[in-house]
Symmetry: C2
Subunit: 435 residues, 2 copies
């Protein structure tokens, strides 16, 4: 048996404590699988006194996480501090520069600085691994980087934020509105006190940009992702969707459109979508995550599991450590950074699809005619329309599903209605996942 | 860029042709991901003249596959001949003995000889890889060997045979009986002319024994798996199951029961089961495969995709080649063979669960009383019972679901009824998947 892999943990929140518990609990099976022991040597966190349910006295305590990078008694630094910049990024750069392996769960940092860090790691010949950054315990980074590596992947999509899925599926099951369910989720600890990264889709977009890079062999381009969240989904949207045979899910979707087509380029969008009830994503309930990848030889692959929390995230972090212990690691994004393609963002307007539109309107004659005229003038053809009930803002609910057409036509129709006195509040647009 | 990985293909059936097509079609992306070119150098098959839809003239043709093992111009041999013994095993042994990497899709050979081959490969420091052997294109070998490697896995189970799932879900959708759907599947090429390996559960059991070894860190023990197939499932079973909120699926299930319990040991069974309608396996339709693994930190992981066919299987074979090209490979069963535990088979009778029982009975007084008495005397408690309609053999159908209890009690009840003049044909027993 080779000598132990010596690990430092920076950040001792839920996940950090989980990593310690996992290595304590599964020491024997992890050592057999890794071919050597995995030993935590040093730890660092802001508050030394907080009770984390694990014995920290046996580890070296370091006040400044950045010091971990330079320690001769450490092979790998695991960064669980969080944040795209600041101490996490400093630690990442110093660790790699010092020729040590680096493991992180930090999707924001990867979305913003992953290419640079991966390039540095290649230069130093060390591992830069991040299985825990996307979809928690589901080995989807490995699934794309290695499992589906033989395929040209045309589309990757999924449910990448457990908080949003918990809120949407609770709204669905209980017929309640967004604000109420969010408040409850916050009280239960399922949602952050400041939930905007989750519910506005930014967290899912960080993850999506990473999946897109791995899937398409392209550079991460987080800035090009179109992002909208679930704040404006109301109970009536979910009810209408169900009546039409759909479920509402926050879907992150990326497509690589071939050159030469009008939609050529990299398409990335996070938005609430209508998912057909018989699609695998429609069955993903509660805080679960799921990812679908479509390869030109393998067809559709579907991965589902727990996307966050102590146990699943620790499972992913330690899987990375086992790979490092085995010496089974290579370029972070499946190929050297210099081999990753530059893909221009695809023009979203040319993309074709169907859409769900919901308006809250004033209860007086001519309103429906005004909406219908805007649709006609924009070239949007209506597949079905329902006017029933009222919305929380006191308007009458009008919901419709369009026929397939270019997305810009729907945007055009909504632009024509902007400022209309007939509408109460902004309309809701959700694309339909017809894949 | 390093020099190309030089590959020989032994066996040019559907999968072999698929591997050639994949490497031709995806050459550029595969080379970027692998870090070097993957070149097929030599091929071998029984019939040189058959049109396989690919140009073979550019490869060296070798009549005797075993010769591939010794060629100096080859780095990896891919075995797609099939069969647990014979030419496939000879080729495997010679290739590894000659210090060359070996990739196979041959579950039967692994189930019977995998430990020996893996030990030989360790001795020689070469790769022995088999992602295509289980669940086709789904990267489940990698998912267990690496993705979930940090976990103690207590249970692994899934739908491991696409032919059976196609037959069962077609019976379900169309209300037809087994023989009729099997005949149609054979005409359509979805089932073999001799379908027994598939429909009697042997193929699924080969795969299950491999998943169990990876999951539990134990030696493969195919001989200890209890195996029954789907021949005796009738349309009425599926209809009754649906009425009770279940779907019928052929499930391969393995559990590692902790020492000290009455059920201690390795439990492996392939059998048609009743799966609750809201369980992920209930949504697996047609010829898809799916695998669930339950880890003590990650929770439940679910993988689904295409389990067979040219494209998915080629995808898995080339994923193995990419790992080899990258140098990212290690022990075949996640740890050295000598580290794998010997687990004694678990005593199935002590396992607790609920069961579905269906009898075809004579239409005369006293029959139900006889069955009920046998249940009572064996200590089996009945949760629900239905007597309705007739079976294909002309009897009256009696179906029941038992309360939870030891499996031996149900076996005991059936033994008490053996030879009874009231029963027409053998009773059908299916366990309920309550996990």
């Amino acid at each position: 048996m080779s000598k132990a892999l010596r690990v430092a943990l920076a950040g001792l929140g839920t996940v950090g404590a989980g990593v310690i518990k996992l290595i304590d609990t599964n020491r024997e099976i992890v050592e057999r699988r890794a071919g050597r022991a995995i030993e935590i040597v040093a730890v660092s966190a802001r508050d030394r006194t907080r009770d984390r349910g694990v014995d920290l006295a046996r580890f070296n305590w370091v006040d400044d996480a950045a010091e971990l990078a330079a320690r001769e008694d450490i092979d790998v630094v695991v960064e669980l501090i969080g944040g795209a910049d600041g101490p996490a990024l400093t630690l990442a750069r110093r660790t790699i520069a010092a020729g040590r392996h680096f493991v992180t769960a930090n999707k924001a940092m990867i979305a913003h600085h992953g290419l640079g860090l991966a390039g540095d790691a290649e230069g130093k010949g060390v591992a830069f691994k991040y299985e825990a950054a996307v979809a928690g315990g589901i080995p989807v980074i490995k699934g794309l980087r290695e499992g589906a590596a033989a395929n040209a992947i045309g589309r990757v999509y999924g449910i990448l934020n457990g908080t949003c899925n918990y809120i949407l599926t609770t709204m669905e099951a209980e017929g309640r509105d967004f604000a109420e369910v969010l408040g409850e989720a916050q009280r239960l600890g399922y949602a952050e006190a400041d939930p905007s990264f989750d519910i506005d889709g930014v967290d899912a977009a960080h993850k999506l940009s990473i999946l897109a890079s791995l899937s398409f062999g392209s550079k991460i381009d987080f800035g090009a992702a179109a992002i909208s969240g679930i704040r404006h989904v109301i109970a009536a949207d979910i009810a209408q969707a169900q009546a039409l045979g759909y479920r509402v899910r926050l879907v992150g979707l990326a497509e690589a459109q071939p050159e030469g087509s009008t939609t050529a380029g990299l398409f990335q969008r996070v938005a609430p979508c209508l998912v057909p009830a018989n699609h695998p994503l429609a069955h993903v309930a509660g805080s679960l995550n799921a990812v679908v990848a479509e390869g030109n030889f393998v067809g559709r692959l579907f991965f589902e599991g727990r996307g966050a929390g102590e146990g699943p995230t620790a499972s992913a972090v330690v899987a990375d450590l086992i790979d490092i212990a085995r010496g089974e690691y290579g370029p972070a994004f499946a190929m050297p950074v210099e081999s990753l393609a530059e893909m221009a963002p695809a023009p979203a307007g040319e993309r074709r699809g169907r859409a769900y539109l919901r308006f809250s309107v004033a209860d007086r004659p001519g309103v429906l005619a005004e909406i219908a005229a805007a649709m006609r003038d924009a070239g949007v053809s209506i597949e079905s329309l329902i006017q029933r009930g009222t919305t929380p803002d006191g308007g009458v609910l009008v919901a419709m599903v369009t026929h397939e057409g270019p997305e810009r036509a729907v945007s055009d129709a909504l632009a024509r209605l902007e400022g209309s006195q007939s509408l109460i509040g902004a309309p809701m647009l959700m694309h339909i996942l017809d894949v």
